[in-house]
Symmetry: C3
Subunit: 273 residues, 3 copies
Amino acid sequence: MFGALLSRVREIRPHIHCITNYVTANDCANILLASGGSPIMADSPEESAEITALCDGLLLNTGTLNPDKLSAMRKSGKTANLLHHPVILDPVGAGASQFRTESIRILLQEIQFSAIRANLSEIKALFCDAKNSHGVDAMSSDNITEENLPDMIRLIKNIADRQNCVIAVTGQIDIIADQNQAFCIHNGCSMMKSVTGAGCQLSALTAAFITANPDQILESAAAAVCTMGVCGEIALEHLESYEGNASFRNKIIDSVYRLDSEILEQKANYQIF
Amino acid sequence: MFGALLSRVREIRPHIHCITNYVTANDCANILLASGGSPIMADSPEESAEITALCDGLLLNTGTLNPDKLSAMRKSGKTANLLHHPVILDPVGAGASQFRTESIRILLQEIQFSAIRANLSEIKALFCDAKNSHGVDAMSSDNITEENLPDMIRLIKNIADRQNCVIAVTGQIDIIADQNQAFCIHNGCSMMKSVTGAGCQLSALTAAFITANPDQILESAAAAVCTMGVCGEIALEHLESYEGNASFRNKIIDSVYRLDSEILEQKANYQIF
Amino acid sequence: MFGALLSRVREIRPHIHCITNYVTANDCANILLASGGSPIMADSPEESAEITALCDGLLLNTGTLNPDKLSAMRKSGKTANLLHHPVILDPVGAGASQFRTESIRILLQEIQFSAIRANLSEIKALFCDAKNSHGVDAMSSDNITEENLPDMIRLIKNIADRQNCVIAVTGQIDIIADQNQAFCIHNGCSMMKSVTGAGCQLSALTAAFITANPDQILESAAAAVCTMGVCGEIALEHLESYEGNASFRNKIIDSVYRLDSEILEQKANYQIF
């Protein structure tokens, strides 16, 4: 199934409008191109709604947020909703500041998202009244493990139900759920935490998959998460002993570029609950 | 001829003030350094004119444009004109929004450019009243092929005449023309479309070549386009079967760093009309 | 000694709030992760003080400065001082424009820095009333060589004394000094000048080392400079003959990721005055 969803990205070549942070924008653009999608970055309120209308899907990533970017996101989000384009949220840094959290809450109120891709600390800060004291990374206590998996699945399904959208939480194990069903994905490797914006890149991939497959939002989000994990594994296999996180970053994007559907199917390691 | 122009970039080491987008700024800076140039990125209206005056040439790239950046561009463009520094325009996303198109029209009215480097969709949106519905990439119908080459050469020469500057349009075949003469360049490879900001990087190279060779603007723009194409070909030769667009991006910049004048002359594949 | 300071970075994993430029933010984030630190980029005045309070150390880098970023820096700097977090300044482009120079002077007045990492042109522009006419790079006349080393050491110690902080000046030879003592470091290689933001990356490393070792600020700054130089040397050893500055950039970050304390100790090449 994931293979067919990837093939569809390559066939459709969805144009994704990204309103995103400047730290990882280049990597997000290159991973979108690697997947078969086409990125357009534009974050000025003067033009954001028009750019959204030109594209097929919208990604809102709240890294390096500021009031202008927020204003662009609100305009673009509403336009995308009107046009029935998928909208994906990556609430980077939710809980790290009042401005960040409140801005994201405004987005959640005004825009209907197709999917939210985040780490567990961000999800808890937004939906469980927890305090996120680690900025953009998940707190070590906020991990998804075999032990807490049943509780976590219940929690994520519950949030998905309340938000009426797919929630993709990534960590040691990834949970991608709507109110009824959850994919638990066991791909990836711990070195991915050493690449800045691996989460941002995954959110960009998620936008490409969902936009190319708008009738299978849950499966597409799961396929994107699985693709990122599988490509992390392939990248690690190709890493020389003297290479580190910069080469690893490039090799993950390279692996997305080279990934074919059969390999994705073969390497996908997930359960459905 | 192209070899001598490249040698001059390495000898002069021109300082290029870049007012550009945040998505590809790092790649533009590194490709400028690879060519022998020296980049300075600064986009605040508070200082842009002063920075321009410190440098030897100016590059205006309209990706991720906003009103502040536009204001900086206007001040810097006028300063560069007063000081007789070359000014190069990359009208990224022309036609994609009213704000983007109108901003670029203001730049075209207020600033005399030495060269404009763009794709065909952007050129048509600016100079042929066409609608660009593909954002930052050229529409597939907007390609330069053997079939339409004579028409395209006539069109580009005509625009160059009206704008009184060199126009460099890149696509499957690249046309670089002033009102009298056109270079048609057949270097490069299709994988370059998978690298975000390959066009931005080329525009940065173009600024370096023209600034180092201000008396040969047409030939310098053609040399820059040819350099990018040749380096794309060399990068492809060095690409392993498991490598993709991220490694390819690095290898293009690496190839510019290593390119010597003789290799450029040998591999250059162009006609003059 | 440097080895123990590096080990401490990996043990503590300091969170560094970076208010920095968009050209090199991605590289700064990845080199921080490579060192064992954890980057958080946030530059909006709406949230910068809160983000600073979440973190362990603060880096202010004045590349692509604008009034909003300056405002965020002032708020964050004051917060960091109140909380006794180390604050590191990289005065990119000091002397290149009135706005840049005056903004940095405001930062110097309002904030007590633990260390300032810069090139000699920037240091002279700020503390010796010299005019920096080269933008972000050091002027060729502003180099530290065996000939002028004693004078330079005296100058840097004097500035360190007046500013009551460590000054790290990088060039052919690097000088890191407080009012009493200077480390002169002979590591590194000239190709590092071909990597955009090598200085920015070093400043990020410096923030990580100092934040993890707040009682050894001088030694930590020296260890960071030495780490960058050693990793430049290791990267050069791994560079293929067809590779250039883009691959070199990645290999420097990779080498930081792989560097172990013994290798750092072995390769460190410095004198203390």
